[in-house]
């Protein structure tokens, strides 16, 4: 894959809209052969290599959308570095229990966007058990709310979401998704009080 194809994928992902999925698929297909290389180089199963590869592509997409991929290296080298790290993580997870320790707070958590002092204060409050509980409530939130929140989490703009879900405007989407978050929050709070 050359610089032109890299640029087409990066621009396609950044542009958002309904076309983004196509570029996500193209990115996945571009370096599909990493999976076989992972199996050969790290001696992991094809299932593990394909799961590391999926996670790699998810990371690359997130980084492109967030703007943290600056295009200083080719997508292939960038992706392969992430993929290698994920394969090594898998190997470590198999031989030690480090994986469990690292599960506490995800490395891409929003908490790391806060400055040191504020981060320390918030980190103490983030309990893994609560997150699991939240997952349960999320399932029961209702399809429309779940969908609007997932689109936003996927980096789509409110304008894009308005188009996908037939809302009148981006502002209506913004109000609706905050309402959905409020609804989720209430569900958790009420059920925790009952508990």
């Amino acid at each position: 894959m050359g610089a032109d194809s890299d640029m087409a994928i990066v621009e396609g992902l950044k542009a958002g809209g309904g076309q983004r999925r196509i570029f996500e698929g193209n990115l996945y297909k571009s370096f599909f052969y990493f999976i076989r290389q992972g199996v050969r180089k790290y001696g992991i199963s094809e299932e593990d290599a394909s799961s590391a590869y999926s996670d790699t592509i998810i990371s690359v997409i997130n980084n492109i959308i967030k703007g943290s991929f600056e295009g200083r290296s080719a997508l292939k080298s960038y992706g392969y570095k992430i993929f290698s790290n994920k394969c090594v993580d898998l190997l470590r997870k198999d031989t030690t229990n480090k994986g469990k320790v690292n599960q506490a707070i995800p490395i891409d958590s929003l908490v790391f966007e806060l400055p040191d002092q504020a981060r320390t204060a918030i980190q103490q409050l983030l309990m893994k058990e609560e997150r699991n509980y939240l997952m349960e409530r999320l399932i029961a939130l209702g399809e429309k709310c779940r969908q609007i929140l997932l689109f936003f989490e996927d980096g789509y703009s409110d304008k894009d979401i308005a188009g996908f879900m037939e809302y009148n405007s981006a502002d209506v989407v913004k109000t609706s998704r905050l309402r959905c978050l409020e609804k989720l929050k209430k569900k958790v709070n009420i059920e925790q009080t009952v508990k």
Binding site: Y53, L114, R131, E136, T175
Partner: protein
């Protein structure tokens, strides 16, 4: 609308002014109740991200199945050398014959194979372990026991627990779903289809019953199963039921 939530969302969406950002960060340190709300917000966003990643992994699993079945891209195949003695007429005949065989092969074999491959891939990606419990409080412990047994691959024990929870006057939909999945992974397809059909009659926020029923039919692969699965998938898409995204994709492949 909760003002704190607006403020917290605005901070993480980067729409606050510099001074507001600073005051937000100070409040996280000085105001424990506010810090609690920020932690709740982050936890909610993380739960959403986890769910999103799960969905994306499923989508990529489908792509993986599709690409694994064919040749991997970026691994170029050298062009086949032509024997100089072959005439254009003969070559055209061979090419035409190859095309007929390919088309015939596609109609006879590929759709059925696709259905099986798609279902197997979905099952491998989503049903190697069971997820969270949405059950009622009284039955939650038993349900968790069933899930633990399933995840430990003790399928018989899991089956018994899910059967007991899915019986009676108030059957637990989550148990019905898990019972269907247990039957599916243990290749008891008829029983799986029956449970998923039953699941589809429950009134739930998000009901994957019909989608799973189609999945089980695709996996069972009897003569009429592919057509039946297609009809169900069309219904899933039309009613925008759980699984509609996969259903749309599968319908293009079936």
């Amino acid at each position: 609308m909760n003002n704190s939530l607006d403020l917290i969302a605005a901070y993480f969406e980067g729409t606050l002014a510099k001074e507001e950002q600073q005051s937000f960060e100070e409040r996280c340190v000085d105001d424990p109740a506010f810090a609690e709300e920020v932690a709740e917000y982050i936890a909610m966003r993380e739960a959403l991200r986890t769910e999103l990643q799960k969905q994306k992994r499923s989508e990529f699993a489908l792509l993986y199945a599709e690409l694994s079945a064919g040749a991997a891209p970026d691994e170029p195949h050298p062009p086949l050398p032509l024997k100089s003695g072959i005439s254009i007429k003969k070559l055209s005949f061979y090419l035409a014959a190859a095309c007929v065989l390919l088309v015939l092969g596609w109609f006879l074999w590929r759709p059925a194979e696709n259905a099986k491959q798609l279902s197997e891939n979905y099952i491998a990606a989503n049903f190697s372990t069971l997820g969270l419990n949405m059950g009622g409080k009284e039955s939650a412990d038993q349900l968790q026991k069933g899930i633990a047994a399933f995840n430990a691959k003790k399928y018989e024990a899991a089956e018994q627990i899910f059967i007991s929870l899915s019986r009676g006057a108030q059957p637990e939909p989550e148990a019905v779903k898990n019972l269907g999945i247990t039957y599916l992974v243990t290749q008891k397809y008829d029983a799986a289809i029956e449970q998923f059909e039953r699941l589809s009659t429950f009134s739930l926020y998000s009901n994957p019953g019909l989608f799973y029923q189609a999945l089980a039919l695709m996996k069972r692969g009897k003569a009429t199963d592919r057509e039946a699965a297609k009809k169900i998938l069309q219904e899933v898409v039309r009613r925008n039921l759980a699984g509609s995204k996969e259903a749309k994709f599968w319908l293009q492949k079936l």
